[in-house]
Structures are given as C-alpha cells and as structure tokens.
Symmetry: C2
Subunit: 486 residues, 2 copies
C-alpha cells in the first residue's frame, strides 16, 4: 500500500487541476509569478485562479474561493497574506483538495505568534488528512508534467536531477545555475518551514520517481533524524543523494533558526551519519551541480586509483596533490601501460603517473584512451590538456595566416572526430573521465562536444578531484552489502 503522503506528493507534482489562491495580474506579487508560470508551463491540467476581487486573471475565469470550483482539485497553491492562509486552508479541506502548497511567509520563522499560526494550520490539515508544503516556501516544478509554480518554464530544461531545498532562495539559485550551464531538472520543491511535508518525505518520493536519477537536497534541520537516516540509507542504494547542509557553525545554526525555524543540531545529524547513510555531502554551493551532473553521466569507478594526464608538469603536481588531499590514490603505472602509452607520447613524457606530455597536448586523445583502457586506474583526470584552443585570425602573422587557419580547422576537426571514440571508451571501460582547467567550450569544439555529452569541465583540478572523490565514495557505498551498512 502506498503511503498517503506519497499520493499527496503525486497530486502536487502531477496535478490535473490547479487552483491558485491569490492569483493576481499585478506584477511584483507572488500571485502574479505563480499563475503566470503555471499557465505558461503548458502542462495538461485545468487552472483556476482564486481571487474574489476579479472576474478573470490572465483570461481565465476567477473564483471567489476553491469552494466554487466545479470538479476535483489536485493542487491548491496559496499565496494570500499570512492572516488569510488559515481560511484558505480550511476551504481546501472542505473542498477535499488533494495537496496544498503554501508559499506565504510570516509563520514560525518570524517568532512566537507566527509559530502559533503555523501550528494551527498544521493541526487543521492533519486532522483532515490533507498534506501540504510550506509555509514560507518558493514553490515547485515538475518538468515532465509542465507544472511550474517556481521558476520560468522557458528557462528550465528537463533532466535527471531533482532538488528539495529548505531554502527557496538556494533552490532558485541552483535551478538558475543549471539553466546557465545547460543542466536539466526533473522535479524541484522548496519545502519551507516544513509544518507538514518534510525533506524526508520528498526524498522518499523522489526515490521512487522514475524521472529522478539524482536527488539533491539543501538541509538546515531534520525533524526525525532516525527516520531520515533509515530512509536515506535505503534510497541511496538506488540513486545518489547529494546534500548541502547549512548551519554547521553555531552562528550559522542560529541564522537557520530565524530562517526556517530549523534546529540544526536537533537530529544530531553529522557528517559521519550522512556518510553511513550513503549521502554525498558537498561543502560549497557550486559543488552541488558539479557533483550531481557527474552522477548523471559518469560511470561509477570500481576503485579510487586515478590516472592523471596533463600537458605540462605543474598541473600534474597540482592534480596529484588535489587527488591525495581528497583520499584518492595516484598509483604507479605498470610496465604494460607505460609501454602502451609510449607508442603515442612525445619522447620526453614523464613515463609515470601523472602522465605529463611535456608541453605537447596533441597526444591527449590517444593517451587518455590508453589510460581509460589500462587496468592500473579506475578513473582519469585530464588537466590542462584536451581541447585545441581556436585562435582568432588576427593572432596569426599575416604572412602565414591562411596556412595557419587551414591547420587550425584541420586540427579542430580531427580532435572533434576523435572525441566520439573517447566518450565511447568512457562507457565501454566504465571509468569516469574528469576534465579540468581546459579551453572553454566556446574556444574548443571538442570541449563543446563533451559538454553536450553531459561531461562538464571544471575550472580547477581541485574541483575535478573533489567530484571524483564523490563518485568513489558512492561507488564504495554501493559495494558494501546492505547488511554491512549502518
């Protein structure tokens, strides 16, 4: 039997009918953005603006309350001022709305009076068996169903990442960064104060969701630590859970209290508990998409032995330091691998791991291919090689310009062609290829091809090593028998 909260979450993400309580045509109001995003999402559902002062909103007939709406309502989004929320919720209960999302703020996060309002709201809904999101949240979306109460539908691309965030601001930021980087999302929800539905409920739901391949969460506090850990341990055997935890410092925890009213220490959730539950914890904002997008595309490495390849020695040293500082191994290469690589390499190459091509990046492709094939390593970190940089024509001397442009075009085309084979090797050998400190995609068609494939280059080898260490951590978690876990 399906947990009733999961059924409510289904109604939330895939509604056939949506009421927007507080829908407005006044720009700058939440009620404007929500109805506009929902209408322009283009999903297959009926939309009912609720606004007693209007005949219609955005050309749709408006209703004084949900009670006047004919037929069933799967979802009501509440954006009226805080003092009107309880009444709207009561009407949703009487109407038998299947799920509610309360965007309105001004509850637990503002102090005692707000907390009392919130407790009343939760009590009423609970006794009626109505599950709701919020209050004090930013909305949600489901790209597969064209449902968007958060974010512009034209900007959000479908993809395998789902996000649940205890900060609406953080959630919007991650979704916006995804858009800028071409990374898509399945579902997203800002869980707000979690008066009813919690981050754990959403992780449980997303664990079952076929559109979600990777679950991301921003968490400030957890209400039921034991349940969260048990659930995470079970879900993370099926798909990775990438968590950014806010409130790790005493001052941060204090700020969290006035933000979502969360008590960070409450569940005694610490890094060790997260790790035991298979959760991949990230420590800075941009790591969340770095790591999640890697999980989407990269094979999981069988071990932690990294083959490093670089056009020049400095980056070999730096990448080695970066791998070691995140617990990755940089093993010696066997004579078999060394002699196999030597066939492709310039004579002055390092003949060791890191593989240093000594200033000659033209050999990157076969060398990376050779490392992916080698039994000595489980993953490849390619730094400052790969991606022939297209120069502007005026960078060449006039006398040889035409010749050099022809050479550049030929080299670019060759590298682009070889890239297909390299990507095929990543999949065939089941080894991640992490690329860092390379030419930006706008200057290299080969790197643009990688990005198109979902393999995103990182600014620094340190970022690349960090992502690799997350892939290794998750792979090691899966390798343990479930009975050994916990």
């Amino acid at each position: 039997m399906i947990d009733p909260s999961l059924k409510s979450i289904d109604a939330l993400f895939s509604p056939k009918s949506i009421a927007v309580i507080g829908a407005s045509e006044s720009f700058g109001k939440w009620g404007f953005d929500v109805i506009h995003h929902i209408v322009s999402g283009g999903g297959d559902f009926a939309v009912y603006p609720i606004n007693p002062k209007r005949e219609e909103v955005f050309g749709l007939p408006a209703y004084p309350s949900v009670l006047e709406v004919q037929g069933e309502l799967d979802l009501a989004v509440i954006v009226v001022p805080p003092e009107q929320v309880q009444r709207a919720m009561d009407q949703c209960i009487r109407k038998g709305v299947r799920s509610v999302l309360v965007i309105t703020a001004g509850f637990k996060e503002v102090g005692r009076d707000g907390a009392a309002l919130e407790a009343d709201l939760a009590k009423a809904a609970r006794s009626a068996g109505l599950r709701f999101v919020g209050p004090n949240c930013n909305g949600h979306f489901n790209t597969a169903a064209g449902v968007f109460s958060l974010g512009s539908p034209r900007r959000i691309k479908p993809g395998g990442i789902s996000l649940v965030s205890q900060s609406g601001n953080f959630g919007e930021h991650i979704v916006t960064k995804g858009w800028e980087r071409g990374i898509g999302f399945a579902k997203c929800v800002s869980s707000g104060n979690e008066a009813d539905l919690t981050v754990a409920d959403f992780i449980e739901y997303l664990g079952e969701d076929p559109h979600t391949q990777v679950i991301c969460a921003y968490i400030e506090g957890i209400k039921n630590g034991r349940r969260f850990v048990d659930l995470a341990r079970e879900v993370s055997r099926r798909k990775p859970i990438v968590v950014m935890k806010g409130g790790n410092s005493p001052e941060g925890a204090c700020a969290a209290r006035s933000h979502t009213g969360a008590l960070s220490g409450e569940a005694a959730i610490n890094d060790g508990v997260f790790r035991q539950a298979g959760i991949i914890q990230v420590n800075k904002v941009q790591e969340m998409l770095d790591v999640a997008s890697a999980f989407l595309r990269q094979p999981l490495p069988a071990g932690n032995r990294i083959g490093i390849i670089t056009a020049g020695g400095g980056f070999g040293v730096i990448a080695t330091d970066a791998c070691r500082s995140t617990g990755l191994q940089v093993p010696a290469l066997s004579s078999k691998t060394l002699s196999s690589l030597s066939r492709w390499m310039p004579s002055r190459w390092s003949k060791a791991n890191p593989v240093d091509m000594a200033g000659d990046p033209f050999y990157s492709m076969p060398a990376i291919g050779g490392l992916l094939k080698s039994d000595d390593v489980d993953a490849v970190l390619a730094v400052s090689c790969l991606g022939f940089r297209t120069k502007d024509h005026d960078e060449f001397p006039a006398t040889v310009r035409d010749e050099l442009i022809a050479f550049q075009n030929q080299t670019t085309a060759m590298e682009l062609e070889a890239m297909g084979g390299l990507i095929e090797r990543v999949d065939r050998h089941g080894k991640p290829l992490i690329v860092a400190a390379v030419t930006p995609p706008g200057r290299s068609r080969a790197i643009a091809r990688l990005v198109q494939e979902g393999i995103y280059p990182y600014e620094s080898p340190e970022d690349g090593a960090r992502v690799l260490s997350c892939l290794v951590q998750y792979s090691q978690y899966l390798a343990r028998r479930p009975s050994q876990v916990g």
Copy 2:
C-alpha cells in the same frame, strides 16, 4: 648599489635589443611562437633572429649567431635543441649579452645526463657573470614594454598583477584565465629549472617594480629557504605575495622532481613559514586570480568582522558557515545599525547579521551601503542579492509584456545609477565588498559595472569568504610591527 641580478632582470624585462636564437618560420616550433610574439608585441626594441640556415625570418635579416649582431644585446632567448644550448650560451657570453632566457627543455628534469648539461651551462654563465632564466621554461612578458616571449600580445592586457611560475603550463593557464576574465598583468616569467635565476630573485625584482601591485607565484621547490623567507617577509610589507605551492603530498613532490627537478621538502617551507613571511597561500588554481584581483581593487579590511547580506535566508546560513570556517567573525549588529538598516528594509527582514532581506532583493543597494557605513563590521559579503536579472522578453506574458519591459529597463537603470554610489562607499569607508552567487554580468548591468570596476563576483559564498579571509590575513600581517614578525 643595485644587485647585479636585478640589473640582469631589468635587461630581461625591458630590453632595447633582443636576439632569438633558433628563430623560425615553421609553425609548431617554439622558435616560431617566440619570434612572432616578440615582433608583434610592438615594443621599442630591435629584434635579431638568429638562424644560420635563413637569410631572414618574418622579414627581418637573420644572423648565423649573436656574434654577428652589431651593437649591444640586452636579451637573448634560446630555443635551439638541448645539445646546441651550451654553444649558444657561450656565444652570448662572448658577445656580452646582458640577460638570457633558455626555453629549451631536456635538462635536469630528464635525469642525470640532463642535470650534467645543466650544471655545465650554469657554471659557464656564472663564471662570466651572465644571469639567465631556465632552462625548461615557457618565456616571459612585460606588458608595459611590449615584450612578449610567452603568450599572445593581443590577448594579454596590462594590469597590476605579476606572475612568476615554476611551471610554464601553469603560468600560461593563469594568464589565459586572466584574459577570459578581463584581468590584466604587468610582468610574467616562467622560471623553469632555475639553474641560475630563481623565484626568489624575481620576487625581489618585482617587489621593486612600480608596475607590479600584487606578486603571484607558483612554487614547487625553493633552493635557499632562509633567503626566500627573509625576502618574502620584507617584500610582502610593500605588496601582497600570493603563492600556490605544488608538491604538498609525497606523490605530488615526487612528480615535481621529474617536472622541474625541484625538491619540495628541501627548504622545509611549510604553511606556517609562509604565513609568518606574510605570504598568502592559495589552495586551488582559480583562487590565485580570485585573491590577486581582490588585492588589486579592494581596500584592506581593518579587522575580521564580516557583515553578510542576502536576499534569502539559506544563503545567509551558508555564508555564515563559510565565514566561520575560514576564521572570520559574523558579529551581532548594534541597535544603531539595526535601526538604521530598518529604514530601508522590508518589514520581515532578519534584524540581525546575516542581514536577510526575506526575498526582497530590491533593498540591496541601501542595505549594503548601510553595512559599509556601520562601525560593527570591517567588510561586507553580499550573497545572492544585487544585480537585477534582465529577463528575455519572451519570459513575460504577452498581455503585459510592454509594461514589464519598461519596468525592467527602469529598474536596471536605477540599480546601475546607484552602483556608482556603492562603489564610492567601498572606497570612502575602506571596506571590501565581496559579491557571490549573483546574476552573471551578461544579465545584469549593475554586476557588469562591478566587473568593470575590478570587483569580480564569485560563484559561491565559500569562494567569497575565502578571498575575504586572505584580505584579512594580509591586513593583519601589515598591522604587526616589523620587529614582531618572524
């Protein structure tokens, strides 16, 4: 009296005459790039291609050796194969060339035979009093004099950062990233194997150089630790020295040995020694430009008390954690500051540090201004606020499109206008303004204005906090009396 090595370095960076030994018109050869870059640098110097097989190179008369060149030579750049380097160096000695730069590789970094070659080279030069750079380096440049043996002159912008790198590859990467980000450089040198001139010599020189405001260095090993530390301690009182150290792990140190032949442990240089000498150590590649560009533009904070401002609570929590984890304080605000800020803020703001505008970023400008003015904080970290995001026209509903475009244009113009006042406050109050997780400059004219001003936004609040901690570290170093240092 000026140290003779400094005079040689002057000849290296500001030569009136340059010979390129091994100049070539064959694309793909070092001798091609070097002569091309030197010629197209447009500086006020004579160029002499040295190539016994050619009558001319790029339209300039070629000479069989430097000995045939009429007049004095300030600089000879050597790019011939390794076995010909000693002969070229001997000719430079006989000619009385003032400085030499040996790009050619195949010396100490390739093993015992190479080390012997290198020792002979150094011995000959030293006994003649000729100072040289390399071997196994990538070249150098000086934007003020139009001298470029490394990098494309059309791509490198003048600026206050100078870079000395024991990895040519790393140096090129930093310079290229500077170009991509619009950050300029004064001087740069790849110091290679340092058979003669070392990173310490260049730091000494750059310490006196009026064009250099910030010195960056990538270091794998240091020959004379005591001298380096004494020198760094003295130079860093005048300008910041930002160092990335390679070879911190045993495996990385081993890779460094085969790269530049450097022994990382040799001088027992560790983080504590660096810190005592006032050196700002960065731990990942992209931090080098993040930190150096902040030193170029930001005032030094008088203390470590950070005022955080954000549009939403999640980022307030995250930014607080980030500050605390780098040793920065996030102090309580005085009632004076609180009441002053309240005049500008939406009613539901956090009334505390972090200043959380509760979803209403329109108040960013006056709020940041208020924090800059407040006696409670020494610097401001603005996260996920500031920078009204320009939407594409198709993001608006058709019925209200024109109205919203007008609103957007007005808001953008107002924010842009207010930005000038904000920048003025940064300077007036002498407090850094660090901006993170904001709208990219391409979508916000206000952020574009900040970038133009040299205030670069960071992806993550963690990156911003890290940069702030470096500014604080340097400020604290300067605040100590010289006698207390060391």
